[in-house]
Symmetry: C2
Subunit: 240 residues, 2 copies
């Protein structure tokens, strides 16, 4: 008998089969055949339903594709749609080096607009964080972020803000998994122009973001991007 299954009784069989197939197939060219279900039954000494459970997961994931009567094959990668990115991730994808300079970081009382957007009460404590974001050393964006202090105890304390907002939120399992962004085209005012090192009246892209983690609104922000340096890229799929 093949000693393929881990001795660790805690490892579920369908998970072991799934990960075995994934390792076989993850760097495969689309169209490459995966082992047949009955092959895996023989190899692992499990029931066919167990193998199917393992393969089902990979099919749902988009890694495999079943063709009745022929077999199971590596699927062509699905076209991806845009996901939630932090500024740092966005710049890194563009091949630029992100930087962050804190201009302001303090506790404030939520005004009516921020309170409504954050789904908290007017006057509740919020963390207001204003940053100048650079890419490859040059100003790219100005961001005003508001966070509900209630859900982020100790965020403001330890002598400084975290190096990365989204990574800090991720560690607290509060990174936004869903955002609602609104973009508009406008021109820079004098103060913005000075910080971004552009001319007053130069075109900028303004973004308002509401970021949601689970059921909680965890971030509200207003950002300005230099129109001469920043293009917004979005990939959208279709509704079902």
């Amino acid at each position: 008998m093949d000693h393929v299954l881990s001795e660790d009784r805690r490892a579920l069989k369908h998970v072991q089969v799934r990960e075995y197939v994934r390792s076989l197939v993850s760097d495969g060219v689309p169209g490459t055949p995966a082992p047949s279900e009955r092959e895996l039954v023989a190899k692992f000494g499990v029931a066919r339903m167990t193998v199917r459970q393992a393969m089902d997961a990979l099919v749902i994931e988009g890694l495999l594709e079943r063709v009745p009567g022929r077999g199971t094959f590596v699927a062509r990668p699905r076209r991806t749609v845009s996901t939630v990115l932090s500024f740092s991730e966005d710049m890194t994808r563009r091949g630029m080096a992100p930087e962050s300079h804190t201009l302001l970081a303090r506790r404030e009382q939520a005004g009516p607009g921020v309170a409504r957007a954050l789904d908290i009460l007017e006057g509740d404590a919020v963390i207001h964080w204003r940053r100048l974001r650079r890419a490859d050393g040059e100003p790219m964006s100005l961001q005003d972020t508001y966070l509900p202090e209630l859900h982020l105890p100790g965020f403001l304390e330890p002598g400084g803000m975290p190096p990365s907002l989204y990574e800090e939120l991720a560690q607290r399992r509060l990174r936004p998994t869903w955002v609602e962004d609104s973009y508009s085209s406008d021109v820079a005012n004098a103060a913005e122009a000075a910080l971004l090192e552009i001319e007053q009246g130069a075109p900028v892209l303004r973004r308002q973001r509401r970021g949601v983690a689970g059921e909680k609104v965890i971030e509200v922000s207003r950002s300005i991007y230099r129109g001469d340096r920043y293009n917004l890229h979005v990939q959208l799929g279709q509704a079902d």
Copy 2:
């Protein structure tokens, strides 16, 4: 025995169970319990694996949620992400009445840029369609759309363009199911300003779109939106 299963032998059992549960549950409040798996086994006289196959589909769909040890319940609707919209659909969602005025509609030879974007050869025939789009009677956008004539025989002929591009493409089963958009903030030049009835130098949002249906690039377009009238709204989800 319950005569719940259809007499129609062609109807698969797991499909019948699935649709039965869906009908019970589709207009239910989140948290409402679905029948237990063993209840459905008894009611339909099928194996539990068959019931689980039916429920799996509804769980994947996001309609149901399993809670081990407790039961299966109507899930709260997932937050939706942005999908591909036509100008008309976009305006309608905003509660405005869309209009379209064709400024130009003719066959052209693809230039290098359009050819590359459409994944065709330079010099291949393309349909170039230029439209002024109004919302509630006022100019909103200027759109230059390029379509590969190869995939759209007879598109230009019948004495006029179709009233709606995306509906015409949908009828040919060529409506884009995936798009790649690039937005930038800029200012209007003299010609654009005249058509959009704004001042030269006023802020505008420029969009470049590549629309893909199946494996074919079916649309390439450049659009200008008035910055004083148009905000882009996007909802994004997370990567897995």
